[in-house]
């Protein structure tokens, strides 16, 4: 049980990304309350495709990482805040 709880805790990097998403989309959610393992699309955070474009723009500006959909990993990248953050950290230029 303890381990599951700690999996849902945000790392400092994830919190920064969560704050970026909350401010880009004007979400009501507190960044710190976002479950980093919940799906970004549909159930979970409930984002739609236009939100995802907004997130892509914010990520490109803040991290210099351009998201591409011809990336086979795309579904995996947007699987959760955690997977998106991992992708950004691997590719960040800024």
């Amino acid at each position: 049980m303890k381990e599951i709880l700690s999996n849902k805790a945000l790392t400092a990097e994830e919190l920064k990304l969560a704050q970026l998403i909350v401010s880009a989309l004007n979400l009501e959610t507190q960044a710190a309350e976002i479950d980093p393992t919940a799906p970004l699309y549909g159930e979970g955070m409930g984002l739609d495709s236009i939100d995802i474009l907004e997130v892509a723009l914010a990520v490109s500006k803040a991290y210099g990482v351009k998201l591409r959909s011809d990336d086979d990993l795309n579904r995996k990248i947007f699987n959760s805040l955690r997977s998106l953050n991992e992708h950004i950290q691997q590719h960040r230029a800024k």
Partner: protein, 445 residues
């Protein structure tokens, strides 16, 4: 009644489309559509959910050849597909993607064998044949059908090309960022290609970086068919967007500033299209030149106590427009936004009555209403919903809504209140709702 060829100014060897940067000839397209027509089930209705534009077009043609009607749903929510399966018994789904529906029997787009038969002439389709049915959301939750004959669709494609003078961009390749199941996408990326000698990009790139690289790979002349949301993202993200020869934008208001920025950024004239599901494309304008809209050839307007109607040209039946329109002589007009009940978010249209019907049909909801804030340029405004539902969790209501309405219309935020400010006649005055929204904003700020 006459027949209209599927492809106008037919040239079997001309390029029809680009897939993965390789050209596909007109005769190859027709051969694939004929081959597909021989494989699809023998039914009256097909829901064409192909996400690949070329396969969607081949599916549309195959259905025409088999005299099947293509149903074009505005969204593929479970609820909508359920209703289609009830209203159109036996309808099947033609799909090419991984995520398909469980509501309808699915016929998966088969892997083409590549044995292209040569084609000396294009098929001709009777103009009165019903080719497609598009839908708007009725106020009772039941989709309202708008049948389109092949004649209306083909003439719309021709009229669009004529109004936009696309003859001057002969053989232009067009890249669309919009779904082809919507009238705008169908007309601008499928019908104008088939009836105006254009070439289609088979895909529908999503992220800005994809759109830029795919556009850059197309031969010139090339055009981009898009929306204000995509334009804003493209201009914000790409420092130096690829040069284009033509830009087409529709679905939501576009500010003169964004229009000018797009013309400079892409080095191309930007035209806007005004239309609706019921009538299809109605008029165009180039914001850099004029704020007034010019109707497509043959299209005319008239007014009565209900509002402004449009008729003529490719429009089969007179249509009452959901916008406030000011006619300014010589058939040109100005647009002054939507009439009260109608909502347009990111090009998806519905009515408050429709959304309120769904909200109030959720178990445990005693009263509820959606409120539409003003829509800003290029940014997407979201709806607010107020709900009286003691003891019901927010997640429960959101899950129920997600099954019934398009994601674009989901409330953000969904606010729980003790009661709605209804007046003595049970109506919700706009002023009282605005107060409620203001109180909410003050609390959040």
């Amino acid at each position: 009644m006459a027949d209209i060829p599927l492809i106008r100014d037919f040239d079997a060897g001309a390029v029809f489309a680009f897939r993965d940067r390789r050209p596909i000839r007109v005769e190859e397209f027709l051969a694939e559509a004929r081959w597909l027509a021989g494989l699809i089930p023998d039914r009256q209705y097909v829901v064409n959910l192909c996400s690949d534009r070329y396969r969607f077009a081949a599916g549309l043609v195959a259905a025409l050849l088999r005299r099947q009607v293509s149903l074009l749903p505005p969204n593929s929510t479970d609820d909508f597909l359920n209703r289609l399966s009830l209203d159109y018994p036996g309808a099947y789904c033609l799909g090419d993607g991984a995520a398909q529906t469980s509501q309808l029997e699915t016929f998966r787009y088969p892997q083409p064998t590549g044995e292209a038969a040569s084609t000396a002439s294009p098929p001709h389709i009777p103009e009165e044949q019903v080719a497609a049915i598009s839908f708007t959301s009725g106020s009772t939750g039941r989709p309202r059908p708008h049948p389109k004959s092949w004649g209306a669709l083909a003439r719309s494609g021709q009229a669009g090309c004529e109004r936009l003078c696309l003859g001057a961009y002969r053989n232009m390749s067009v890249l669309g960022t919009i779904p082809h199941q919507h009238m705008y996408g169908l007309e601008a990326t499928i019908l104008m290609v088939m009836q105006g000698g254009l070439r289609m990009h088979c895909g529908r790139p999503f992220f800005s970086a994809d759109i830029c690289s795919e556009l850059e790979a197309l031969p010139r002349p090339r055009g981009l068919v898009t929306t204000p949301v995509h334009l804003r993202m493209l201009l914000a993200e790409a420092n130096d967007p690829p040069k284009a020869d033509f830009l087409l934008c529709a679905t939501a208001p576009l500010s003169p500033q964004l229009a000018a920025e797009a013309e400079t950024g892409f080095g191309a004239p930007l035209y806007e299209i005004y239309g609706c599901t019921e009538a299809g494309q109605v008029a165009t304008r180039r914001p850099a030149e004029s704020h007034q809209w010019r109707p497509l050839p043959g299209v005319a307007f008239f007014e009565n106590e209900e509002g402004t109607w449009v008729k003529g040209g490719h429009i089969e039946k007179e249509v009452l427009l959901g916008d406030v329109i000011e006619l300014c002589g010589r058939n040109e007009f100005l647009l002054h936004g939507r009439t009260a009940d109608l909502i347009n978010i990111a090009g998806k249209r519905t009515s408050l009555a429709h959304l309120n019907f769904h909200l109030n049909s959720i178990e445990g909801v005693r009263d509820g209403t959606f409120v539409m804030p003003e829509e800003d340029d290029g940014t997407v405004t979201r709806l607010t919903a107020f709900v009286v539902a003691p003891g019901v969790a927010s997640e429960t209501i959101m899950t129920a809504l997600r099954q019934r309405i398009d994601a674009a219309f989901l409330p953000r935020p969904l606010c729980f209140v003790e009661s709605l400010p209804r007046n003595e006649t049970g109506k919700l005055p706009r002023m009282a709702l605005d107060d409620l929204v203001a109180r909410l904003a003050a609390k959040a700020g």
